[in-house]
């Protein structure tokens, strides 16, 4: 056999003892040092055992290549806008919510607020008090995780039958994913607000916005979200906390069709979309969900296919582990606050929007969005550092989603639980911050880390699988 290292100039990757690295330096041998750090003491021995087992799985390498390959080759198309009742078979009294499954008893303020608002919106209660009572009693009420139904929802992520959903189909693998329509900022249902203006807006969205968008899309045909997201990244969005470019591109694409489809309503519809920089977020989330779902169910794969929070728990799902959730306590984001709000007003982390990070956007693409870098605590270099650190825990670089400032390098995509456990580097998540008291709405935005335990728990399950 021909052993390539015997020929040509030796170039050495070193990991471990510094004295051996120095010996290479003294020989002027080109060298790349790995900044290896031991896992936290205490978990170290058990972790090394689990890791070795997972890494030794003969299926792992190919399984991960298959799973992440499917995630990165997905071609999400915005193909329609339909009521949840019709698209998802959602019945009266049934609600989907963000994150892993949760009960009313364990639900946080904004989750409860959003459910109360959805009850009022659906006409299942006349007052917030009555709604809360019925939800608490559970009679005639069914709650389930959005993720169990090909759906994602930002923040509380509450979906009720009368809400209109963006429908995204994956032209490559044939999957479908859904996300609600974005309501705008401030006092909105997804942040747990349920005042009259919230319900009124939801009504308008169901009566005007949804049908007009549906008619417009029928005219202009499906929108290629992969291309749109790729362009938005190059225009300074990271597609989670900044969606200004993507929203603008979306408007440019659909405005003529909106005018043609509903001339009488076009102005108010376009004004609504224009007035909300985050309108695209939900379409981007559905696109990410479609891509992540394409990567599900590959036996032996340690790829994360969902990260989601319900305001109480942070949960992940892993390609090789079916629909099992691995959950830990949701952290409180570290960020900047609106108006007079402060950290004391913040609810723990909430929402399915971490599906963006799951597929290499959001915090993972922070280096693309210098305009919002101060959420990461300061300077453009911090954003670059946030993105580059994510290459340490991801399996691939996205072929279409590129970052101009990094020489058009693909975004770090496809989180590997084994790499997270080995390095202790946790996914960087950009997020909005909901008020902890039901009915408050958004209080800020910032950064949050998942609980490390969810990754080691998933690793443990992979080792046992």
């Amino acid at each position: 056999m021909t052993l390539s290292m015997l020929y040509g100039e030796p170039r050495v990757i070193t990991v471990g003892a510094e004295v051996l690295a120095e010996a290479l330096d003294r020989q002027a041998v080109p060298q790349r040092r790995v900044d290896w750090r031991p896992p936290a003491p205490g978990v170290s021995a058990a972790l090394a055992g689990m890791l070795a087992k997972v890494l030794a799985d003969p299926r792992r390498e190919r399984a991960n290549a298959t799973a992440v390959g499917r995630m990165l080759s997905a071609r999400p198309m915005l193909s329609g806008v339909r009521p949840a009742r019709e698209a998802l078979g959602l019945e009266a009294g049934s609600f989907f919510h963000a994150g892993p499954p949760i009960t009313w008893e364990r639900a946080s303020g904004p989750m409860r607020g959003a459910l109360v608002g959805a009850m009022l919106f659906e006409g299942l209660a006349a007052t917030p008090e009555e709604a809360a009572e019925r939800l608490a009693s559970g009679a005639g009420i069914t709650l389930d995780s959005c993720h169990h139904h090909r759906t994602v929802g930002p923040m509380a992520g509450v979906v009720s039958p009368s809400m209109w959903m963006l429908e995204v189909t994956d032209a490559e693998h044939g999957g479908t994913a859904y996300c609600s329509l974005n309501e705008g900022l401030g006092k909105v249902l997804r942040y747990g607000a349920y005042g009259p203006e919230v319900i009124e807006r939801l009504r308008w969205m169901g009566e005007v916005l949804g049908p007009v968008l549906a008619a417009a899309l029928e005219r202009c045909g499906p929108l290629d979200l992969r291309t749109l997201i790729a362009q938005a990244l190059q225009m300074g969005d990271e597609l989670h906390n900044r969606n200004r470019a993507a929203t603008s591109l979306l408007v440019r694409e659909i405005a003529p069709a909106v005018v043609e489809a509903a001339p009488g309503r076009a102005a108010e519809v376009l004004r609504f979309i224009n007035g909300n920089d985050h309108f695209f977020l939900n379409a981007g989330m559905a696109a990410a969900k479609a891509a992540a779902d394409a990567a599900r169910g590959v036996p032996g794969s340690s790829l994360v296919v969902a990260m989601a929070r319900n305001g109480t728990d942070f949960g992940i799902q892993v390609s090789g582990l079916g629909d099992r959730w691995f959950t830990g306590p949701a952290g409180v984001p570290d960020g900047l606050y609106l108006g007079g709000y402060g950290p004391d007003d913040a609810n723990p982390d909430i929402g399915d929007s971490t599906i963006t990070e799951t597929t290499g956007l959001g915090g993972f693409a922070m280096a693309a969005a210098p305009a919002i870098v101060r959420f990461v605590g300061g300077e453009v270099a911090d954003a670059v550092a946030a993105t580059t650190s994510m290459y340490e825990i991801t399996l691939a670089e996205h072929p279409a989603y590129q970052i101009p400032g990094l020489g058009f390098r693909g975004t770090p995509a496809g989180i590997d639980v084994a790499l997270v456990a080995r390095t202790g580097v946790l996914p960087v998540v950009n997020t909005g911050i909901a008020g902890r008291v039901a009915g408050t709405g958004q209080v800020g935005a910032g950064l949050v880390s998942p609980p490390a335990g969810v990754f080691t728990a998933a690793l443990d399950a992979l080792a046992a699988a």
């Binding site: 056999m1 390539s4 051996l20 108006g339 101060r374």
Partner: protein
């Protein structure tokens, strides 16, 4: 409390900057609350909720609303606001020193390498080594305490990828002129070495170097490679690789006697390149004899191996105890065999301070002399035999601690014999080291076997 409310038309700052400014102002002790934001309905509403009297605004206006204890405080807060707004553009640039990779996988992804050198604690070595193999790199695993099933798995995966796993517990390798681990600076030449013994390989290659013969590559395979369990997986691959290498004219295989399975695997190889096999142990050639065999196979003369006899020590009567204080396992075993070592505490006994039992939680004795120094100080009669291994990675100046100890030991009536394993190119300078130790009273040999025989003779009186 007094309020300051201002609407500044046409002044734009992005929302993140403004949230930061608001936060900085609110954090000041004299400020009760501050809202500095663009005049959207949402922001104006937030300010009104806080009790500010906000005039009509448009999203293109900057809204400033500050509440403080007194008018003076308000003035200070307003001044601070101007400072904050003025400095928002001065954040640092986009570049910063690139963060180093955290795994071999990540390093291999961003940097073109030919080989990886893994020396993390044994329980973590598997992941890093597997990264290398999966990235298509050969890997040297310096770490010990790697479970044998992980070794087998790594070697099987490596074979499937056409790369080589050197180790675990591989102390030395020379690949394309680069010394990995504990490595002597050897001249380039025609001899390729496959070694399941690090210090064994160092002894043989240093003697060849002294004889003017260099190496093409030295490929360690790990001490367990030729065991029944591992079956010579890496030795077979390394032999094949050297056989293909046009720079290699002669292969020297150094190992303890292999398990029958491993011996068969090696024997079944149909190699075009001649092989000198050194199987260490009773009844076999010692390392010096192996080097000499290799020289003869190449048609080269066998030189007299340099040595520096001790000065005019008084002749001593009768048999005396002999202690071996070693840092190299193979060197220790060879010396013990030649010198006829017996049980601990007996008249001749040998300790390998490089053994796992002594290295747990401390550096290897080639780097950290403290255990051997203590042992040497405890000897008050007879003969002491030690090895000093030079090269990259090893103690940069062993004579600096050993020469004074030799002087003291000699003064106590102890005869000190040193086996000095080094090549002329080694950074420590073998001739300088030998001269210093010799001057202090030690007999110094470049051949460990010769040193052991000399020590035996001294002990026999």
């Amino acid at each position: 409390m007094t309020d300051l409310v201002e609407v500044r038309p046409g002044v734009y700052h992005d929302s993140v900057t403004l949230m930061q400014v608001s936060q900085a102002l609110t954090a000041r002790p004299e400020v009760a609350v501050a809202v500095v934001a663009m005049g959207t309905d949402l922001n104006a509403g937030l300010a009104r909720d806080l009790g500010f009297e906000v005039p009509p605004t448009t999203p293109g206006d900057l809204l400033v609303a500050i509440r403080a204890a007194s008018a003076a405080d308000l003035g200070e807060a307003a001044a601070e606001l101007e400072r904050q707004l003025a400095t928002t553009g001065t954040a640092g640039g986009a570049t910063r020193e690139e963060a180093p990779p955290r795994t071999v996988r990540s390093a291999a992804r961003s940097w073109e390498a030919t080989v990886a050198l893994v020396s993390v604690p044994g329980e973590h070595a598997f992941a890093e080594a597997l990264d290398a193999v999966e990235a298509g790199l050969s890997v040297m695993i310096f770490s010990d305490n790697v479970p044998v099933e992980q070794e087998i798995l790594l070697k099987d995966r490596a074979r499937a990828r056409g790369v080589l796993v050197m180790g675990p517990d591989c102390g030395t390798a020379v690949v394309g002129g680069a010394g990995l681990g504990f490595a002597n600076v050897l001249r380039p030449g025609p001899v390729g070495v496959v070694a399941a013994s690090g210090t064994g390989a160092q002894q043989v290659t240093c003697l060849l170097d002294i004889a003017g013969v260099g190496v093409s590559h030295v490929l360690g395979v790990g001490g367990r490679d030729l065991s029944a369990e591992v079956g010579g997986r890496s030795a077979v691959q390394a032999l094949r690789a050297l056989d293909e290498d046009p720079a290699t004219e002669l292969i020297v295989l150094i190992s303890k006697p292999p398990a029958p399975e491993a011996a068969r695997a090696v024997r079944d190889l149909d190699l075009a390149t001649p092989v000198v096999a050194a199987l260490l142990g009773p009844g076999q050639d010692d390392l010096t004899a192996v080097a000499e065999k290799a020289l003869r196979a190449l048609g080269r003369d066998v030189p007299e191996w340099p040595s520096w006899p001790a000065g005019d020590a008084p002749a001593r009567e009768g048999r005396r105890p002999l202690r071996g204080l070693y840092s190299g396992g193979t060197l220790c075993a060879e010396a013990a065999l030649i010198a006829g070592a017996v049980e601990p505490g007996g008249e001749a006994w040998f300790v390998d301070y490089g053994d796992d039992a002594y290295t747990r939680g401390r550096a290897h004795p080639m780097i950290d002399p403290s255990l051997r120094r203590e042992a040497l100080r405890g000897v008050d009669s007879g003969v002491v035999l030690l090895d000093v291994v030079l090269g990259h990675g090893a103690d940069p100046d062993p004579s600096s601690w050993l020469a004074p100890e030799v002087r003291d030991a000699t003064a106590r009536g102890v005869d000190v014999v040193v086996a000095l394993v080094g090549a002329d190119g080694d950074p420590q300078g073998p001739r300088t080291q030998a001269a210093r130790l010799n001057e202090a009273g030690a007999a110094v040999f470049t051949s460990n076997a010769a040193a052991a025989r000399h020590a035996r003779r001294l002990a026999d009186g």
